[in-house]
């Protein structure tokens, strides 16, 4: 059963559509990153999946069931970490986790292990009021992990965490995904998401612009890639002439050119045909930040998948 399936889902607040026309599915064992500016609809999407709000149009299915019917969600093993998670200040970390464990019908036995796993064992018996932002986030992760969830939703989970804890955090996510848990996390930190997740979904102003692997995204945005060549000094002119359609720049030993992804092989074939004239070659793919900037910056007002004007920077 697919953990998450959204079909043409739309949610409106007043006259403003918070999200619209969302088609997205999340498979077991998959880590999907949700990217978007503030107000892009990431949190609304999570609330739809959690059944906290109902879609005005389309449908949302969690393991084949409607999450807005609480009866259907009992025992669905969902973990959620809200953005800026808050707890009852008068309770200790251990009491907080035990409270949530009872609500998930878990025995309190696993709580100590969980606290240990998120690095809170030392502070477990202190009141949550004394916790730092990072410690609250750890406790938030611990409660989300209660009861071995098969679907984990994390809203901006790593904001406020230091580098070492982020590493622990993503290690835990990798473990869970290996065991078949579907993970959906929203983030602003593109560099992390690039390497720590399997698929990326980009949202902008309530629309889902694209969802796919980083390679899919690169192809879709059609960003030029940079090819850097080291050439034999006496054959520079020769190389420049043969690669003329790609407008190579530079002189002497170092040349660089920009080409569209689909022209990459043509460039390589030309380079290969030149034999020893080219000593070394480097191909630079655009990073997620460049892809993201292109997706959310220059496609405003254009339908998804429309060709984007080539722009060699």
């Amino acid at each position: 059963m697919t953990p998450v399936t959204l079909s043409s889902a739309a949610k409106r607040y007043g006259t403003q559509w918070a999200v619209r026309g969302i088609d997205l599915s999340l498979m077991a064992g998959e880590r999907l990153a949700l990217l978007g500016h503030n107000g892009a609809g990431k949190t609304t999407l999570m609330k739809l999946i959690l059944g906290l709000i109902r879609p005005e149009e389309g449908s949302v299915r969690i393991f084949g069931r409607d999450p807005a019917h609480s009866r259907g969600m009992e025992g669905a093993a969902i973990g959620f970490l809200p953005e800026n998670v808050t707890f009852h200040n008068a309770m200790t970390g251990r009491e907080t986790l035990a409270f949530y464990a009872r609500l998930k019908r878990q025995s309190g036995a696993g709580c100590s292990d969980l606290l240990d796993r998120v690095g809170l064992a030392g502070a477990a018996d202190r009141r949550v009021a004394t916790y730092s932002k990072g410690m609250r986030q750890r406790l938030g992760l611990a409660q989300a992990l209660l009861g071995a969830p098969r679907l984990l939703l994390l809203d901006e989970p790593t904001t406020g965490l230091d580098q070492s804890l982020r590493q622990t955090f993503y290690d835990i996510l990798a473990d869970l995904a290996d065991n078949g848990t579907a993970v959906l996390l929203s983030s602003h930190l593109l560099s992390e998401v690039e390497t720590k997740t399997d698929r990326i979904a980009v949202m902008d102003r309530g629309r889902l612009l694209i969802a796919g692997t980083l390679a899919d995204l690169r192809t879709a945005v059609d960003l030029p890639l940079e090819v850097r060549l080291t050439v034999a000094r006496d054959r520079t002119q020769d190389v420049v002439r043969r690669l003329a359609p790609f407008h190579p720049a530079g002189d002497g030993e170092a040349l660089s050119l920009w080409c569209r992804p689909q022209d990459k092989m043509s460039v390589l074939r030309e380079v290969g045909a030149m034999g020893s004239a080219v000593i070394d070659i480097d191909i630079h793919q655009p990073g997620l930040d460049a892809v993201y900037a292109r997706l959310t910056g220059t496609t405003i007002g254009k339908p998804i998948g429309a060709p984007v004007a080539e722009q060699a920077s």
């Binding site: 009992e74 800026n84 008068a90």
Partner: protein
């Protein structure tokens, strides 16, 4: 353990820990002790009067104090958690929304029950110890007082949740709660008195008057305590009011149950539809 019980237990423990129960108990014990020992001072006599007289004094205290502390406890219960963000997380758990309302109601009722029993009970015991003669009439009126005080408190807990489910900010809830308290503890009876005085008591039939009293839970409380127990009726000035005394006790109990029930049911219905 059932989600309802888990939430009730948490609310109860929160109340004990944040000193709410302690302060409520102390306020009730202090005021009721003062009434028990000084209640007959206006008659020129300082000493411990019969327990039945203490019941009459405490009943007047309850009408003002218990609704107030119940509203303090409940007006914030839903909207406060929504504002702090803890409700969002709670609702993603396998918990039905009605279980949250009923769990809080159960936990808060228990807190109120403990505070009232200990607070008033301390005064009753102190009075009995000081003058054994005081309890010649038996403990029955006192037990009725405690039970009905807790029941009155639960009515205002339920009304507090209703406010909490309707408003968007806890400050609004506090304002509405104060107005509600003023209306039921003071303005309703003042208005009714004014109406009776201006119409010379002819404006309304005895039957209608009885039904009008049912519209105010504090009046139901007064009727049970001041007219329902024979021992107390003698001291409460109600002995000569046959029209009122004929409201049978079961009717009053049912009226109380309705006053606890309708705000709770409405709260659960409203909270179920509340978007987060």
């Amino acid at each position: 353990m059932n989600a309802l019980i888990t939430i009730a237990a948490k609310e109860f423990r929160d109340g004990l820990r944040n000193r709410w129960a302690t302060s409520a108990t102390l306020v009730m014990a202090g005021l009721s002790l003062a009434l028990a020992f000084l209640g007959s001072a206006p008659t020129g006599h300082v000493g411990v009067p019969p327990l039945a007289v203490t019941v009459v004094s405490l009943a007047s205290l309850t009408v003002f104090l218990v609704p107030l502390i119940a509203l303090i406890l409940s007006h914030d219960a839903l909207v406060g958690e929504v504002e702090r963000g803890t409700m969002l997380l709670l609702l993603t758990y396998p918990v039905r929304r009605w279980q949250i309302v009923m769990g809080k109601f159960l936990g808060h009722s228990l807190l109120l029950g403990v505070a009232t029993t200990v607070g008033y009970g301390a005064a009753g015991c102190a009075a009995a110890l000081a003058t054994p003669d005081a309890v010649s009439g038996g403990w029955m009126p006192f037990a009725v007082l405690i039970v009905t005080s807790v029941a009155l408190g639960t009515v205002f807990l339920a009304l507090g949740y209703l406010i909490s489910s309707l408003v968007a900010e806890h400050a609004t809830a506090a304002g509405v709660a104060v107005v509600l308290w003023l209306c039921f503890a003071l303005l309703f009876d003042l208005g009714l008195l004014g109406f009776l005085a201006t119409t010379g008591g002819q404006g309304v039939s005895a039957t209608a008057f009885r039904w009008i009293l049912m519209l105010n839970p504090t009046d139901i409380f007064r009727l049970i305590n001041l007219t329902g127990v024979a021992e107390v009726r003698r001291y409460s000035g109600m002995a000569g009011l046959p029209a009122l005394a004929t409201i049978p006790l079961p009717t009053l109990v049912v009226a109380f149950a309705v006053w606890i029930g309708w705000p709770l049911v409405l709260t659960m219905a409203i909270f179920k539809r509340r978007p987060l």
